[in-house]
């Protein structure tokens, strides 16, 4: 009898569900982040984790306007070369030391000089940093840099406690965000707890936030449905209807800043000599075969906004004039005939995953109607990066996660000699326009330059844009105050469990 009782009690214990503590927030990420050091990190999911851990000097609002964060107020000098910032007087690092002008200087210098820093390009315009007072710091730029403030909203502007510069990344990240680092188990979880001394602590309602990398979309969703998770990022478009139909869940979407498309090998080795790369008419013909609305409907279930330019509708540089271009097979055939081809063969290189596979299979099918004979070359990610760098491609997958400042979506990929310009496309006029747009802070003037640049790019067609990356979320209906941002980074201020 006793045995049975014990056994029964054990079974009860085993089967009783354990509800997660209401004061915890469980968020699933698509991947496990890389090194947890804002100056060295590379991944998008890393930015997600830095969000609550590391306050930056500036932040963005939902309309992508730059707003102060650790900075109380700021001003530009005449000529836009000196940025003077007054810091908040109530911001502390998690180790209790104040976020002061010295700390800001030390951080920017670290980001500029640390050999492994990936922020050097973002801060390259800095000429000197001067501490003017305990909370006042002035940054002198070599020349005006329009993207500078936008860069300071992200990892380049995140402050790490200078006392922990040597240990940041190896599990001891000490920043000044509303949550502090507790532990990381690779591929499993990153745990952070509320930092009670944060200047805006009242606006953060969870005691603990746990980020869990769950790469599979089905598994992510199942965990959300079971209540083990509160928020998941990037649910699969195919699951959108399931989520919407579930009264316990909420689906949220905003157009992101990134895009997907193809770029052509315009000058990187022998493969740039293939007809599609040599004759603009053929690229235009290819463009005319692609029906972006079909891509949106079939692949994105309506969540992939058609893209024709590097700037999404979320960006101020977006210009609807450059949109459009209906599918026109007859015109495509005509262009091919003008170029002296009845059929054109080429290969598309892309990283092997189901999303890209489906995208390029559709592209292949659509283009074949005009006489394009496309071979698909899916390659494992590491090899794909290698092949692109080496120029061993004719046409390649083209994608960017998108930047707040338009410069990051355009200059980086199409200006002569830019790091992301793997097709080695080079048009001096375009580069000149993009360089000009870099050093002017006035948005209207910049937009005019980007419009001109887009016209030049449209003449050469070094890349085609297919769709903008949506920023999708699914979360528990018990949550209140969830706000999605176009940069795809989760912000926890104001987010709470419904009363």
């Amino acid at each position: 009898m006793m045995k049975k009782l014990v056994l029964g009690a054990m079974l009860m214990g085993l089967l009783a569900t354990t509800a997660a503590s209401a004061a915890d927030l469980n968020v699933a990420l698509q991947d496990d982040p890389d090194i947890l050091d804002p100056h060295r990190g590379n991944t998008f999911v890393g930015r997600m984790v830095f969000g609550p851990l590391c306050d930056a000097l500036f932040d963005i609002d939902t309309s992508l306007n730059i707003v102060p964060r650790l900075v109380a107020d700021w001003s530009w000098s005449e000529g836009d070369t000196v940025l003077t910032m007054n810091l908040r007087d109530d911001a502390l690092f998690h180790d209790g030391t104040p976020v002061n002008a010295e700390a800001v200087k030390a951080n920017l210098e670290r980001a500029l000089t640390l050999p492994e820093s990936n922020r050097k390009a973002e801060l390259a315009s800095i000429a000197s940093i001067e501490v003017l007072g305990d909370l006042q710091v002035a940054i002198t730029l070599k020349a005006p840099d329009a993207a500078f403030l936008a860069n300071l909203t992200d990892r380049a502007g995140m402050m790490v406690s200078p006392a922990t510069f040597d240990t940041a990344g190896e599990g001891g990240l000490v920043c000044a965000g509303p949550y502090k680092f507790v532990e990381r188990i690779q591929n499993d979880r990153i745990v952070m707890e509320k930092f009670a001394d944060h200047w805006d602590a009242d606006n953060y309602h969870f005691d603990q936030v746990i980020y869990r990398p769950i790469p599979d979309t089905t598994v992510r969703l199942a965990n959300l449905q079971s209540g083990d998770l509160d928020i998941i990022e990037r649910p699969a478009p195919a699951d959108m209807e399931t989520i919407k139909a579930d009264s316990n869940l909420v689906f949220d979407i905003v157009t992101g800043l990134g895009f997907y498309g193809v770029n052509f090998n315009m000058g990187n080795g022998d493969r740039s000599q293939s007809p599609i790369n040599q004759d603009k008419r053929l690229r235009e013909a290819l463009n005319l075969t692609i029906d972006r609305n079909v891509l949106n409907d079939v692949l994105g279930m309506g969540t992939y906004p058609p893209a024709y330019q590097p700037f999404s509708t979320a960006s101020w540089a977006y210009n609807p004039e450059f949109d459009g271009g209906e599918r026109d097979i007859e015109r495509a055939k005509q262009l091919m005939a003008e170029a002296g081809h009845e059929s054109v063969s080429f290969e598309i290189l892309y990283a092997n995953n189901s999303a890209m596979q489906s995208l390029f299979e559709l592209v292949q099918a659509m283009a074949s109607e005009a006489g394009f004979n496309i071979t698909l070359r899916p390659t494992e990610f590491a090899a794909y990066v290698d092949e692109r760098e080496a120029g061993n491609f004719e046409v390649s997958q083209f994608g960017a996660s998108g930047r707040i400042d338009p410069d990051g979506n355009f200059h980086r990929y199409l200006a002569c000699g830019s790091a992301g310009n793997v097709g080695k496309y080079c048009n001096d006029e375009l580069t000149d326009l993009l360089n000009k747009a870099r050093v002017i802070n006035d948005v209207t003037e910049r937009k005019a330059l980007y419009d001109q640049a887009q016209k030049v790019a449209a003449e050469d067609l070094p890349a085609l844009y297919f769709y903008y990356t949506p920023r999708t979320w699914a979360y528990s209906a018990k949550l209140d105050g969830f706000v999605a941002y176009a940069d795809g980074v989760l912000r926890l201020a104001g987010l709470k469990t419904k009363e």
Binding site: Q186, G227, A382
Partner: protein
């Protein structure tokens, strides 16, 4: 999971505890060249793969200066034999290096994941034994009846049902609909014993299906051969109860190959179970190593493969020892 396979009975000139000790020592000595060759293969094969670890890691944000610095830092510009020697030198001092991607020491990553992998493998093994052996015995005793056919059909499906599908179905039923088990995740056994067991029930079961099927098939055939032996007929002739004959006489003898087989299968399980870990978000060796291969995180791949190889060799030695321990004839030779 890969199959274990049968092994030859270890030949012993002198039997007894001394012999066991000698066997262990000899096995360890034999393992050393295996490990050295293996380490060369792991090291060399990875470098044959296309793709550069630094470029892969940097992807969208590659900065030539940083790339060059990291290449120097991780000695990727050195000739491969030099890189290998440097790595071996560090490993001999207990330093497996650190992950290129996360900066975390590989030893720390292994130590974090070892208890998780051991727990998952143990749960799967226990379930496989509890399912596989009784099913094998029943199938053998009821040979060519409906029970036998049913057990075989179940075993066949256990081997052929994809873990991914089974895992998702279990999550949908037990976590999403009935809400009696957590959908995924790992809870350390020291933190919350019951929750830890609960969170491992589904992954353990999914992982156990193929092993159980394997064990069932082997138990069945071992039992069939034992049941047709003379001594079983004698035992039955003495009028012993059927259950006593099956369990005390037949099963004990039939179990010998099963025990060694189980030990080897356990070694397999310790090497990680990528799909199961992925579905149930269990941070074990499998996921770690697959991610590391994809990101060309050399130090992690080398460290984990070497570590699991050592584990596998240890399991092999254990299998040999168990063989002697459970088989009295090998201990007391005529």
């Amino acid at each position: 999971m890969t199959g274990g396979g049968f092994r030859c009975r270890p030949s012993l000139s002198k039997k007894g505890p001394d012999a066991v000790l000698k066997l262990i020592v000899r096995r360890i000595l034999l393992a050393l060249p295996t490990l050295i060759i293996l380490s060369m293969i792991i090291f060399g094969l990875q470098r044959l793969l296309p793709g550069d670890p630094i470029q892969t890691m940097m992807a969208e944000e590659s900065d030539p200066q940083v790339v060059e610095f990291l290449r120097e830092k991780y000695r990727l510009n050195d000739p491969i034999p030099l890189q290998y020697l440097a790595w071996v030198g560090n490993v001999l001092q207990g330093d497996f290096g650190s992950s290129l991607r996360t900066g975390l020491p590989v030893t720390q990553m292994i130590l974090q994941k070892l208890p998780i992998t051991v727990q998952l493998a143990s749960m799967a093994m226990i379930m496989a034994l509890l399912i596989g052996i009784p099913a094998g015995v029943i199938a053998a005793v009821r040979k060519n009846t409906m029970v036998d056919y049913a057990a075989n059909a179940v075993a066949l499906s256990g081997m052929s049902v994809p873990n991914f599908w089974l895992g998702i179905i279990l999550i949908m039923v037990f976590a999403v609909s009935w809400k009696i088990l957590p959908a995924s995740g790992y809870v350390p056994i020291t933190l919350d014993f019951w929750l830890s067991i609960k969170s491992m029930l589904m992954p353990g079961f999914v992982l156990s299906t193929a092993v159980a099927a394997y064990l069932m098939r082997h138990t069945r055939s071992a039992m069939l051969s034992v049941l047709s032996s003379d001594y079983i007929r004698t035992a039955r002739a003495k009028g012993l109860l059927s259950n006593a004959v099956i369990i005390r006489h037949a099963l004990r003898n039939a179990l010998m190959p099963i025990v060694t087989l189980s030990t080897l299968l356990f070694g397999d399980l310790l090497a990680g179970a990528v799909l199961t870990e992925q579905i149930f978000v269990i941070p074990g060796f499998g996921k770690l190593i697959v991610d590391a291969v994809f990101t060309r995180d050399y130090a992690v791949v080398q460290g984990v493969v070497l570590f699991t190889a050592i584990g596998f060799i240890a399991m092999n030695i254990l299998a040999d020892v168990l063989y002697i321990v459970i088989n009295p004839r090998l201990r007391h030779p005529q």
